[in-house]
């Protein structure tokens, strides 16, 4: 292998690059200017004294001796379940289109402030993703619409009243009983909403309901409909898999039910010395996805070759299982790739029924081939299950296309749009929309679609709503309001009920619908409803799916749900829009596997130099959350860039083409074109551009979130995620806001030890300390005159263990920490100036070649060293050590010398360069540009500040901050134990990052307690190591060696440490 050390950026990977990245202050400081004679800065002694006098006087006046009068306003009538200062938790559901996650909502004094996963869900098992975590900030978004609006000239909305809007709409509905109405939504998970739509259709029979998904799974749904008779996706049970082969499906990111996938994946990635077994994963893909970065074997291929590899695998499997051979698969022309494909095929055949093959293309033909492979392997009914089929994606591209045709032909009189933004994410929709007589949007904000409509009826935020969901057959969850509606908003089903003349309100409708359908089999529907509401989830078969024999049609029929997407056949055939409603017709379009294969062959034989792939960024989503600053500022798992999108290209290929990092290119497909900066991404397949969806919004309400380029413009009518592209270099260069790449923890000399350690399963089985042997030598040298830090077990010594094997770099911990600890958003400009404020960052290391590197993720937060270098250099003892092993930070004592940050070898300390959060009461005194950005995004507004955690100090300008091990949670749990008069129990305290980690990579607890999980992992474990342990900083955070399930010969073994400790 060409590299013998880890690298974090291309600059570092190149010769002499590491030295440059190691230089923390590579720019020149303007010191000479200040002291040279011709400088403007010629302040003399007298000026100095004047300034000194003035500032002392000003400070005295500002801190004038009158304290402000503070009011305290109690409730007039206090609600019984609210105690000021004590959090109340509600079980609810985060849902938006196909994004679904059962959650717990922490409210303080009536304000939701934090989201965690609901462990009662057998699907997510307490896991949670970034979108759900950040949704609490969306509640306090200043750009939400605050009342009903009506369209005006030039897309400017005008305020109106709900009465006026209702009168106008009901007027139109009653004037013409044959009004041709269409309801356009994303996937509707809510069975009650579907029932309300059904009710509306009874009152207005000429109504069709069309659902589409911005990131579509139409292809897979159609393939499954044709082959299994139902338009759904199977439930993937990775915990039952031994081998996982994915063709471009980012299952740890945005493919399917990602939290469930992460849980299942993690179950197979935790080997122990007694049971050295692991799930093995293969990834054939064009761009470096999160799943690819975590795969044991990753093969970069262009999308056309990914299709070819899928066809080849089909025939390799068919040859051994007696299935139908398809033949004619194009060659990959890549020896390693073909070798990996054969190895994958052999392992799949050895693990029939305990493997899964996934395909990420939105293409019915590719999906049909993939289904056929899984069928031959006997995976259906075992690892791919239909008894709890996934209903997360129900949208139909075909029906969307038909609706748009009808709109263009003037066949739609009234269009009701809810919870989707087609003018942004469907090319050509705006034009079709202009032909519709009356357009009504029920969205949160004045988005791209709303501004084109005649009426905008703003929706509640999900945390203000009643709702229900059936994301999997027989699996239900409920959403309940955790705060009274902040604005004059109304839920869409409530509107539909009102317009169809129903007397009941939406809440009563849900309760009645549940009692008559979901809870129909229960002894007491009332008790079951209360129970479901309390737990937030209700699962038919007790959450544990029963095994179903391999008989797809019957198995599915047996558990078929009433809420399955039933075609709206009620529409009379004379209705001109009736053709919108025929799903059967679409079923028939897909024939046998061999026909599908031949069509796929044709598609992948398309000629063209370059391809473009568009994908959903798992952090920021499909564009619905682009206005969320927390998500914008969460760094991408792989590229470590935030606040932007870009076209990822292979570095070597880019150099050949004369493209440099940040250069702009114009990408043109048959559908449209965009201009976007390129980012040189190791591991990207040569000749492909990969662009994230969700950016390029134009109406989020703020220039900093209207960022990037809209990759939806590249999508054709089939909404396939890849296509042939023509590209040309354009003028301009973008500087990305990214972290980690500027602070290298590594020395360029190979004599330094790496900060991450890894081995292979085979070596681990032989030697549990494999990859970690150098620690023995370190520990021998770490002798001290002082007593051992764990010698006197007095009380508590908090510690954390991080399993590098389980960390997938998803960033959920990032957002959870931001939410828990009042961490400010600093904006793109500040991020680019290395002023990021996150207390936890996820370092990503590459090893090996830039064409296909191995990737390791390492969450890095304050290590709470027992011999902390930062503590020794603080001149005012603002940071010091607690008796419980915490490196404590007293903000009010800090004077901002930043010596601690300079002396921290882990680079985890963050400095408040500005008053990002408005902690100071001086108003606009530091109203500089980056601040303004925060201000306009509303971070300093009273509304957005409602998200702050009242138990954590809001830091002011000029102080240092860093991870506190969630000390507020430690203190809270200790107090609870003291009040109960009981000892602390392992697991009492969970840090925010730990609760957010779906894969269970983070463990927290008391290192003095030998039975605690964290002690077992960090003190009684051969995989345990500490970062730069040889410095004798005695960190309280322990990492566990990453174990890859690949042959030792395929693994990049870095050159081991060669020098002596003196050299280190």
């Amino acid at each position: 292998m060409e590299s013998n050390t880890y690298w974090t950026s291309l600059k570092e990977h190149q010769p002499q690059g590491a030295a440059a990245t190691r230089d923390e202050f590579s720019e020149e400081l303007p010191v000479v200017d200040a002291f040279s004679g011709d400088s403007n800065l010629t302040a003399g002694r007298r000026d100095f004294l004047k300034m000194l006098g003035f500032s002392i006087t000003a400070a005295t006046l500002a801190a004038s001796c009158e304290a402000p009068v503070r009011k305290v306003i109690p409730y007039v009538i206090k609600p019984e379940d609210v105690t000021p200062g004590i959090a109340t938790w509600y079980a609810s559901t985060f849902m938006n289109g196909s994004d679904w996650c059962p959650i717990l909502v922490k409210t303080r004094d009536g304000r939701p402030i934090k989201i965690e996963g609901n462990r009662y869900s057998s699907i997510t098992q307490g896991g949670v993703d970034t979108k759900a975590l950040a949704s609490v900030l969306g509640l306090y978004n200043n750009k939400r619409l605050r009342q009903a609006m009506r369209g005006g000239e030039n897309g400017k909305l005008k305020a109106t009243t709900w009465e006026e809007a209702d009168t106008a709409i009901t007027g139109k509905l009653s004037a013409n009983p044959n009004l041709r109405i269409a309801i356009l939504t994303q996937t509707v998970l809510s069975p009650s909403t579907k029932a309300v739509v059904g009710r509306f259709q009874q009152s207005f029979p000429n109504t069709v309901h069309v659902a589409y998904d911005p990131v579509s799974e139409h292809g897979a749904l159609e393939a499954n409909a044709a082959m299994f008779g139902k338009r759904a996706l199977p439930e993937y049970r990775f915990q039952d898999c031994q081998v996982l082969v994915s063709f471009g499906a980012d299952y740890l990111g945005s493919f399917g039910s990602s939290v469930q996938n992460q849980k299942g994946w993690a179950a197979g990635r935790k080997p122990t010395p007694d049971k050295p077994e692991m799930l093995r994963t293969y990834q054939f893909e064009s761009w470096m996805s999160r799943s690819g970065a975590n795969a044991d074997y990753r093969v970069p291929l262009t999308e056309r070759k990914v299709g070819a590899a899928l066809l080849q695998l089909h025939d390799l499997i068919a040859a051994k299982t007696g299935g139908p051979a398809l033949g004619g698969a194009p060659a990959l022309n890549d020896e390693t790739a073909e070798q990996r494909l054969r190895a994958a095929s052999d392992e799949l055949l050895a693990n029939r029924g305990t493997s899964a093959v996934l395909c990420g293309m939105n293409d019915a033909d590719a999906q049909a081939v993939c289904n056929s492979i899984n069928s031959m392997l006997g995976n259906y009914g075992k690892t791919l299950r239909w008894d709890r089929a996934s209903l997360l994606k129900q949208g139909s591209d075909a029906r969307l296309a038909e609706l748009m045709n009808d709109m263009k032909a003037g066949k739609v009189d009234l269009l009701l749009i809810n919870g989707c933004n087609p003018a942004y994410d469907v090319p050509g929709f705006a034009e079709a929309l202009s032909k519709v007589a009356t357009k009504v949007a029920a969205n949160y904000s004045a988005d791209e679609t709303s501004v084109l409509c005649d009426f905008v009826l703003p929706e509640h935020h999900i945390l203000e709503s009643w709702n229900d969901a059936e994301p999997f057959v027989g699996v239900y969850s409920l959403a309940q309001p955790t705060i009274s509606p902040l604005f004059q908003t109304r839920q869409f089903p409530e509107s539909l009920l009102k317009w169809s003349g129903a007397s009941e309100n939406w809440y009563d409708f849900i309760v009645a619908h549940w009692k008559s359908t979901v809870l129909a089999g229960e002894m007491s529907a009332e008790a079951a409803w209360t129970n479901a509401l309390q737990y937030g989830v209700y699962e038919r078969n007790g959450g544990v799916p029963s095994p179903v024999p391999f008989s797809l049609q019957t198995a599915f029929a047996a558990s078929a749900s009433t809420s399955m997407a039933t075609p709206a056949t009620a529409a009379p055939s004379t209705d001109p829009t009736a053709n919108l409603a025929g799903e059967d017709r679409v079923y028939a379009a897909t024939g046998s596997v061999s026909e599908a294969a031949s069509r796929l062959r044709q598609k992948i034989s398309a000629s063209g130099d370059a391809e473009v792939v568009v994908f959903e960024n798992a952090v920021i989503g499909n564009g619905a959350y682009t206005d969320n600053p927390w998500l914008q500022e969460t760094l991408d798992s792989i590229t470590k860039v935030c606040w932007d999108n870009y076209a990822m290209v292979n570095p070597g290929w880019a150099r050949e083409q004369g493209l440099g990092d940040g250069d702009h290119v114009k990408l043109t497909t048959s559908a449209g074109s965009i201009t976007v900066p390129v980012l040189l991404q190791p591991g990207q397949a040569k000749g492909t551009f990969a662009v994230a969806l969700g950016y390029g919004r134009t109406a989020t309400g703020h220039p900093s979130t209207d960022n990037g380029a809209n990759a939806y413009k590249l999508l054709g009518a089939d909404r396939n995620s890849w296509g042939i592209v023509n590209w040309s270099k354009e003028a301009g260069n973008t500087e990305f806001a990214r972290n980690q790449v500027y602070d290298s923890l590594f020395d360029d000399s190979k004599k330094k030890r790496p900060h991450v350690k890894e081995t292979t399963l085979e070596e681990y089985a032989k030697d549990p300390m494999a990859g970690n042997r150098d620690r023995e030598e370190i520990l021998v040298h770490l002798k001290s005159f002082y007593p051992d830090r764990f010698a006197n077990k007095n009380g508590f010594h908090w510690g954390m263990a991080v399993d590098l094997n389980a960390c997938i770099g998803c960033g959920a911990c990032h957002v959870a920490c931001q939410s828990e600890n009042n961490i400010p958003v600093v904006g793109k400009k500040e991020m680019a100036r290395k002023h990021d404020m996150h207390w936890i960052r996820i370092d990503r290391y590459y090893a090996g070649s830039e064409d296909n590197p191995e990737v390791v993720f390492q969450p890095m937060m304050c290590q709470h060293c027992d011999q902390a270098p930062c503590e020794n250099v603080c001149p005012v003892a603002a940071t010091n050590h607690s008796s419980e092993g915490l490196n404590q930070m007293a903000y009010n004592r800090c004077i901002g010398t930043r010596y601690c940050a300079n002396n921290c070898p882990y680079k985890v300390r963050r400095f408040n360069w500005f008053d990002y959060m408005g902690a100071d009461s001086f108003g606009d005194y530091n109203d500089m540009d980056p601040m303004k950005q925060g201000k306009e995004m509303g971070q300093l507004s009273d509304l957005t500040r409602m998200v702050l955690n009242p138990d954590v100090t809001v830091r002011s300008r000029g102080v240092m901050e860093k991870c506190s091990f969630c000390v507020q949670r430690i203190q809270e749990s200790k107090l609870a134990a003291k009040m109960d008069g009981r000892p602390m129990v392992d697991g009492d305290i969970k840090t925010a990052c730990q609760t957010a980690c779906a894969t269970g990579a983070i463990t927290f607890g008391n290192l003095f307690d030998n039975s605690s999980q964290v002690y077992q992992l960090s003190e009684n474990n051969d995989r345990a190591f500490r970062v730069i342990e040889e410095f004798h900083t005695l960190p309280s955070v322990t990492y566990l060696t990453k174990v890859r399930n690949k042959k030792p010969a395929d693994h990049i073994h870095l050159v081991p440490f060669e020098g002596t400790l003196d050299q280190a």
């Binding site: 203190q971 107090l975 003291k978």
Partner: protein
């Protein structure tokens, strides 16, 4: 004949005090200075004996009073003889005058805490006196010089003050003392910024802890329900007041005026005991303010530490108007944490402190104080 003040007081308390107070308006007007308000004492006697009858005379002052108090009539007192009334009025005249000036009706909202005598006034007076002394000295020496010149006496060349014998050490000492004093007062002043010991703002409702906690012996936790549960002790919501004041419609001290404010806030009509639904929150002035970067939890101190409310809040049961008793400074907190013993044996939570238990058993430690288990560390309160 002299009036009997003691007899007057007895009569006043038995017959008048229910509706009248000396300095505050109750059901009826405040009675301090009542004799001065009535032009003719005979009329006042007639008014007291039977106000309804007296109203018929059409006396303008009496009619105005009647209108001002919502046409509620004072009951007749036919049993009073002139002597009794004279005694009562004598008792009223015996009330001190200065209290009346401080008893202005309290307005809502409060002002910042102010010490009794502003030290800066003293400093200004001192400086002025020194300046005047210096001025007089100058005048005197000038005059003496002129007199000397006139009589041609030889004037010794003035020696600068510093060069006079013994002055240098004196000035040195003085400068040292001055620097020390300025340094100390700067430090002391700076640490006192935002401290509000003895802060006693006016509250929107003149709630008396003396009556509720002192005289009526209501437990603190009856109203401050959060004190044993969590961070906030909780200012009671108005529905807690209504638990008693649904029936108690008139107070000893302020009659119905203050209680009427509760009724206004909760929307209660005391005439027919019905709720109107018109609610209006009461904006109390917060007395005990900790800085934003301090975390304080009541439950830790009351439930775990077993501390009495009065330890920090002072003799609340004696406070007619609530004020801040302690400084609530960090030094005050830390001192208490150093001096307070932890009830180590009684709570199983402390079982984890192996070393401290050993030290207790071996006699190395007599008792465990809060600071021994980390109670003086930064991040126990600052996070």
């Amino acid at each position: 004949m002299y009036a009997d003040v003691a007899a007057g007081q007895a009569l006043y308390e038995a017959n008048c005090a229910r509706c009248h107070q000396p300095y505050r308006r109750g059901t009826g007007p405040a009675l301090y200075g009542v004799t001065e308000r009535w032009a003719d004492t005979a009329n006042l006697y007639a008014w007291i004996k039977n106000s309804t009858a007296y109203l018929k005379t059409g006396d303008l002052y009496a009619v105005a009073l009647y209108e001002e108090y919502q046409k509620s009539v004072m009951p007749a007192f036919p049993q009073f003889e002139d002597k009794d009334i004279a005694n009562i009025l004598a008792y009223m005249r015996s009330w001190p005058a200065e209290a009346a000036t401080t008893a202005a009706a309290p307005g809502a909202g409060g002002g910042p805490a102010k010490p009794a005598i502003d030290p800066s006034v003293l400093v200004i007076i001192l400086i002025s006196l020194v300046f005047i002394a210096w001025l007089l000295g100058q005048v005197s020496s000038f005059l003496r010089k002129r007199v000397s010149e006139k009589y041609n006496e030889t004037v010794p060349e003035p020696v600068p003050v510093l060069q006079r014998p013994g002055m240098k050490p004196l000035f040195g000492m003085a400068a040292f003392v001055l620097v020390c004093f300025l340094g100390y007062s700067t430090y002391d002043g700076a640490t006192a910024i935002n401290r509000q010991e003895n802060y006693m703002p006016d509250q929107p409702i003149a709630f008396s802890h003396e009556i509720h906690a002192g005289a009526n012996k209501i437990d603190c936790r009856y109203c401050h329900t959060g004190a044993e549960k969590g961070k906030s002790a909780v200012i009671p919501s108005m529905n807690v007041c209504m638990n008693c004041h649904y029936d108690v419609k008139e107070g000893k001290q302020y009659g119905t005026t203050e209680i009427a404010k509760i009724y206004k806030a909760v929307g209660f009509n005391p005439e027919n005991n019905t709720y109107t639904g018109e609610q209006e929150p009461v904006e109390w002035v917060r007395i005990h303010n900790l800085a934003d970067h301090v975390y304080f939890n009541h439950a830790q101190h009351t439930m775990v530490g077993g501390i009495e409310c009065q330890t920090c809040h002072g003799p609340v049961q004696e406070m007619e108007v609530m004020y801040q008793y302690q400084s609530l400074s960090m030094g005050w907190c830390i001192n208490c944490h150093r001096q307070t013993e932890v009830n180590f044996a009684a709570n199983d939570f402390y079982g984890d402190y192996d070393q401290l238990h050993q030290d207790l058993a071996s006699g190395k430690l007599d008792a465990v104080h809060v600071s021994d288990i980390g109670g003086a560390e930064c991040q126990k309160c600052h996070y």
